[in-house]
């Protein structure tokens, strides 16, 4: 069961992270909570996948990071979308819609 979840996440993790940042900046825990929330609890992103993905996307320039204070006045690293990130989100959403439409079609015909 576990491997299934990771394979599903592989393709969509970037998209979900970008999507979760649309409404504003978040720290790592916040992002994982937000993803859980917007997917109605379907995806639970483990830190072992989340942090490598965040750092890779930061290196790509899609998100940028800064240190800020958390809701409990704790120093936390926050991420926000960059311009390039918004573009990427658009492109990936388009791609995703196409794929999910195609898959849905496939199931309807069958």
């Amino acid at each position: 069961m576990k491997p299934e979840r990771t394979t599903l996440l592989q393709g969509t993790l970037n998209l979900l992270i970008l999507k979760s940042l649309v409404t504003g900046e978040l720290h790592g825990l916040g992002i994982s909570r937000r993803i859980q929330q917007i997917t109605a609890g379907t995806f639970l992103v483990k830190p072992g996948s989340l942090f490598p993905a965040l750092h890779r996307m930061e290196d790509e320039g899609w998100i940028s990071a800064f240190w800020g204070d958390s809701e409990n006045n704790r120093r936390a690293k926050y991420y926000r979308l960059t311009k390039a990130g918004r573009k990427q989100l658009e492109a990936e959403s388009k791609r995703w819609r196409r794929i999910s439409w195609a898959i849905a079609q496939a199931f309807e015909i069958a």
């Binding site: 720290h27 790592g28 825990l29 483990k46 830190p47 072992g48 942090f51 490598p52 993905a53 750092h55 890779r56 930061e58 290196d59 790509e60 320039g61 958390s70 409990n72 704790r74 120093r75 936390a76 690293k77 390039a84």
Partner: protein, 882 residues
Amino acid sequence: MSLFMKTRSFLRNLLLSGRVDSDLDQELHSHLEMVIEQNLRAGMSPSEARRSAQIELGGIEQVKEQVRQERVGNWLHSVLADCRFALRQLRKSPAFTAVSLLTLTVGIGANTAIFSFADLLLNHPVSLPDLKRLVYVEEVRPGGEEASLSPANFRDLRAETKSLEGFTSYQEWVASLAGSNGAEECIGVRAGEDFFGTLGTRPILGRVFLPGERSMGKNHVVVLSYAFWQREFAADPGVVDKTLRLDEEKYTIVGVMPANFQFPPGGAQLWTPLAVDDANANERNNASLAAVGRLSATASVEKSRAELNTLWGQLKQRYPEVNRQWQLSVLPLREHLVDQDSRQFAALFLCVAGFVLLIACVNVANLQLSRSASRERELAIRAAVGAGRSRIIRQLFTESLLLAAVGGAGGLLLAFWGLSVMRANMPAQVREICDVSGMRMDVRAFAFTFFAAAVAGLLSGAIPAVRGSRVNLRDSLETGGVRVAGGGQRLRRAFVISEVILAVVLLIGAGLMVKGFYLLATRQTAMAPQTLLTFHINLSPNRYGSPEQQRAFYSELLDRLRRIPAVEAVSAVSGLPYSFYEKDRKVLPEESRGAQFSDLPGLMEESISDDYFRVLRLPLFEGRLFDRRDGAGAPAVGIVSESMAHRLWPGVQQIVGRRIKLTESERPDEWISIVGVVGDIRHEVYDRSFRSILYLPMGQTADASMDFALRTSADPHRLVASMRSAIAELDSTQPITRLQTMEEKINQQASALQFVAILMGILGMVAILLSSAGIYGLIAYSVAERRREIGIRMALGSRSSQVLAMVVRLTGSLVAVGGAIGLVVGFGLAQILSSMLYGVRAWDPAVYALVPLVLAFVTLLATFVPAWKAARVDPNIALRYE
């Protein structure tokens, strides 16, 4: 944009890696704290909240490692980290590092130096631009006899060929140079049309010859070699238009060649135009010209060979009486210049160098293997904190490559040093056959070194890396890295055995070479070479044109030399032993009249004065020596060497009285009666058997150049002054050359072989040293590994001597197996070696007795320290060790 970002991230990750890393650490810790707070709010107890958060995170270090692998530039970063880590690891085990580095440095260094030398022998006999497009053209008989080209044949080929864009001829010429302190001999070259242009070289001063200067009378111009210009004119830049007296005639200097121009090889000092008179130009019989051509842009050697052979076919048809038996040979100039001996020795050197490198690699691999076994625990810990399998393999590879790179750099330095030492000590004889100044670490030698370094690193890295990555985490951590001797042992033992085999083979080779040289140096005791003074005289054809004049000069000179006090006997001969003399003739014994020319046996002709055999101390076996009876008008007589007698008349008792005819002699139709048989003498260092020699009395043959030998009762060097004045009284302009004792002559000729023997000896020593380091490594490691076992044995009552015996037995069995195989393999290779060196037998008892002794001694030395340590193991400490 994206590329820009990536570059920025790459630089940041690389340059600010410390900050990036601590950032990540903080980020993860704050994440952990937040999860804990969240858990507390959900009503967990503090310890439960922390535990659950840690489980969710799955280990900060592992997450960090995962993040690092995702980062841009991670590969370079981790390579650097690997290097840093590898350096730290290597520093931590200095003995291992030192032995590995030494091994690689010596292996790679020796290899590179030898490779450069072999490359020089094989590929750079002479430094000429685009050497591979030059071909050497000569006439060859079906039997293999070679001659140069005759002037008329050369002229016709040159006029017709289209495959050669340049085609030139030359003749070597020994000239007498008039100087302030008497005359001396110098080596000149008569250069044909477009000689310098064909060879692709230009003078550094002045000009080369004009086309008009090739006609008789206008040819008194000369181009100097760089060395000659330096020596005779102190590198005077105004040397052009000055004059020289060569063979009593005035020559005007027109140019100076660059320092690296030396053609034909063998120390040419000056070049003059090859003037052709009409009579000579139509000469088709006498093949007197060496010919070199440069391929035109579209031609290959094969194409040119085909074209020239077609032309040669036409010449054969047109002039059947002279050209019928001859064929044309077209060879790359390099192949013509590099002789069989050079090729064999170069191949030998390459083999030896390969052996040394192999030993070095096996050694390093062995050391790595031993070490990786003792590092299992460390590797297990690294695996436990999240290092992937590929990461660990890469780490181990990095260590080996780092070692190889440093070792390679050290090797390069060693090779530089070795080459400069070799260059400085290169015997003259080697200088003659190849362009030593061209010996340097060329690009290919560099490439070869780095290739060798990389292979050495990978070879030695591969096995530990593969083994090391198969670490079983739990086992390794539980046993704490101390295991019972296991599978790796077998591989390491195989390594030691193969090292011993290689070293023994090399030692046998080195031993045979050294033995061969020793034989050379000591064989000629009967001749007493240290009391023989020798020199060479070449009479100028201008003043001693006829055989009668030459004979008169030589017999007068012999009389004067004989009168010098302390001279016991004196003799003239056309070529003394060890002076590279050749004069091949075909002989027709009376019994085999009517035999084909090509079937006739060959021999060497020597013209001698009466006392020759007394001076050289050769025994007379039958008949008589020459004396006053055997003058110009008397019946032709000859004396044969023992091996010639055996060849011509096998099994015959009475040789004296038999008759032979000689080809190419002054009196070809006359029967020569054999009047005596004398003992054999080795003529040249490199001869593999005695030559068949026919001695003729000087009164009946003539030679413009002769060697002289004076048997003295005093130190030969003290006779030089009186000898010189004896010659000067007779003819003050006559130069003498090659003034040296016979001992010096032999040493000079053997110098190349001595050089080879010393090189082989050094390489043999290197091999045995490296092998002993390997043996030491293995034994020291297995003693450390079995410390506990030894402790138990001692606790149960084993005595020190028994433990000592156990360790020695282990080494002994390995070395015995390796040594035995090595002796067999070495014997096989020695067969090849013995065919290269006269007097060296493959089965040389001294060498085969000595090699195992050396091996045993070195083994004992390598075993002693670890064995002694093992015997002193204190069971209390050893058992508490864990």
